[in-house]
């Protein structure tokens, strides 16, 4: 289980772990894009009663640094008493497509420590991912985010011009329906 303080502490411990080694990573900068609950908490977008148990990494640059990061995260988990999967590429993986074009320009840096630079997605990108995930808790988060008409229009445009044919149409339609409901709420 993680709160924003512990997320920061764990990422700083991870950076120290990487910096201590004689490795590719210790000599380079590694950028991580954190999504899900951890990203939302670090960005201050989610209410404190939001629960999160892990850090979902959607993007790791350079990609080849990931195996070493994963090993170092295992050592940090042991030291801080965290779940072994506290840093993972879990459900975020398939959602990489969910990020609207231009997300790199909208992301925010929330932590720079040792070789690690941690980013979170911009608000509209966060909203797009929440709309696509679309579970009860995601809809609650969307309502709590108080999305603006411009943000919803941006995400709607993204979903209507969806370039990835491996996603189910029904999933996109349902995400659009959720945005329509938020429109009606305002």
């Amino acid at each position: 289980m993680l709160d924003s303080g512990l997320i920061r502490a764990a990422l700083e411990a991870l950076a120290r772990e990487l910096g201590a080694g004689d490795s590719v990573v210790s000599a380079a900068t590694v950028e991580l894009l954190l999504v899900g609950g951890a990203g939302g908490l670090l960005a201050g977008r989610l209410a404190p009663h939001r629960v999160t148990s892990d850090c979902d990494v959607m993007v790791c640059v350079p990609e080849e640094a990931w195996p070493e990061l994963e090993r170092a995260a295992g050592r940090v988990a042991h030291r801080l008493g965290l779940s072994r999967r506290w840093l993972n590429r879990g459900p975020a993986g398939p959602y990489r497509d969910a990020l609207p074009r231009g997300w790199e320009q909208r992301r925010s840096e929330v932590l720079r420590t040792g070789p690690l630079v941690i980013f979170v997605p911009g608000r509209v990108d966060f909203i797009a991912m929440k709309a696509l995930a679309n579970r009860a808790q995601d809809i609650e988060d969307l309502i709590a985010l108080n999305t603006t008409a411009d943000e919803r229009a941006f995400v709607r445009h993204h979903l209507l011009h969806w370039p990835h044919d491996h996603w189910l149409n029904s999933q996109l339609r349902e995400a659009l329906a959720t945005l329509d409901e938020l429109e009606d709420d305002t």
Binding site: M1, L2, D3, S4, L41, P48, H49, R50, V51, T52, S53, D54, G81, S83, R85, R135, A136, Q137, I139, E140, I143, E174, A177, T178, D180, E181, D184, D185
Partner: protein
């Protein structure tokens, strides 16, 4: 959501945080009364889906710590009918997930929503479990398609449950932070556990075996047998009174 509900939700999440649920709030200063926490959670879960998910996940991992007879008695005596389906669904989901029989007697006293009986071929009448779907017809249509069979049976539509065991602290953490739970663990949440907790919560329930049996929702014979064991273990005192026997805790701190 009103300010009052938000305040109650925050207090509730602090009690769950004390029991190891990963709500990012400061934990309550004392170990909560687990059965009352479950009753309060059933009352408020509609406002916050994560509360329901975390309570069910906690029960999946630590359900044997729940004094089942006491929970059944509280559900019967104090839980309003509107919330019976919420508690029933939560316990039923746990039962389906890990096959436990621990909650069978509690599930039996929880009544499904009236809408289940009223619903004909479709479930148009069945309301959603979570408020976020209320008055949002598009979301509700989707939920009606995706709702789990067990949620339909209880009359509170919800999508299939996704438990979050990684969002719980470990067993050693739970017991170290809440040493009074050791007693519950030792007794496995059976009738002895309910008797001790009932006496701690309402000492007047020890006026006689009959009163205690009523408070725990079991027969007098069952209470007497459990009291025999508790007395042997030095956990309760039985004293002759003008009418029958009074019962009290031998150590009032033990069941706190």
């Amino acid at each position: 959501m009103t300010r009052q509900i938000e305040t109650r939700l925050r207090a509730l999440t602090r009690r769950w945080a004390r029991l190891g649920a990963a709500f990012a709030v400061s934990p309550a200063p004392q170990t909560p009364d687990i059965e009352r926490l479950l009753i309060d959670t059933a009352r408020l879960a509609a406002h916050e889906s994560r509360l329901f998910i975390m309570a069910a996940t906690w029960l999946l991992e630590f359900g044997s710590l729940v004094a089942k007879h006491r929970l059944r008695a509280l559900a019967r005596a104090e839980l309003e009918p509107d919330y019976h389906p919420v508690l029933g669904l939560m316990l039923d989901l746990v039962r389906q997930e890990n096959g436990t029989r621990h909650f069978n007697e509690v599930i039996e006293v929880c009544r499904p929503a009236d809408a289940v009986a009223d619903a004909s071929d479709d479930d148009e009448e069945i309301p959603p479990l979570f408020d976020v779907y209320r008055d949002r017809p598009r979301l509700l249509r989707r939920l009606r398609r995706a709702a789990s069979p067990v949620s339909r049976q209880w009359g509170r539509l919800a999508e299939p449950m996704e438990f979050k065991p990684d969002a719980l602290r470990s067993r050693p953490w739970l017991i170290a932070r809440n040493p009074s739970l050791r007693l519950r663990a030792d007794l496995g949440g059976d009738l002895r556990c309910s008797i001790l907790l009932t006496l701690a919560d309402r000492p007047e329930a020890g006026a006689s075996e009959m009163v205690l049996a009523r408070a725990c929702g079991v027969t007098r014979r069952a209470v007497r047998l459990a009291l025999d064991q508790l007395e042997l273990a030095g956990r309760v005192l039985r004293q002759p009174a003008r009418r029958g026997t009074t019962i009290s805790l031998a150590d009032t701190r033990a069941a706190a």
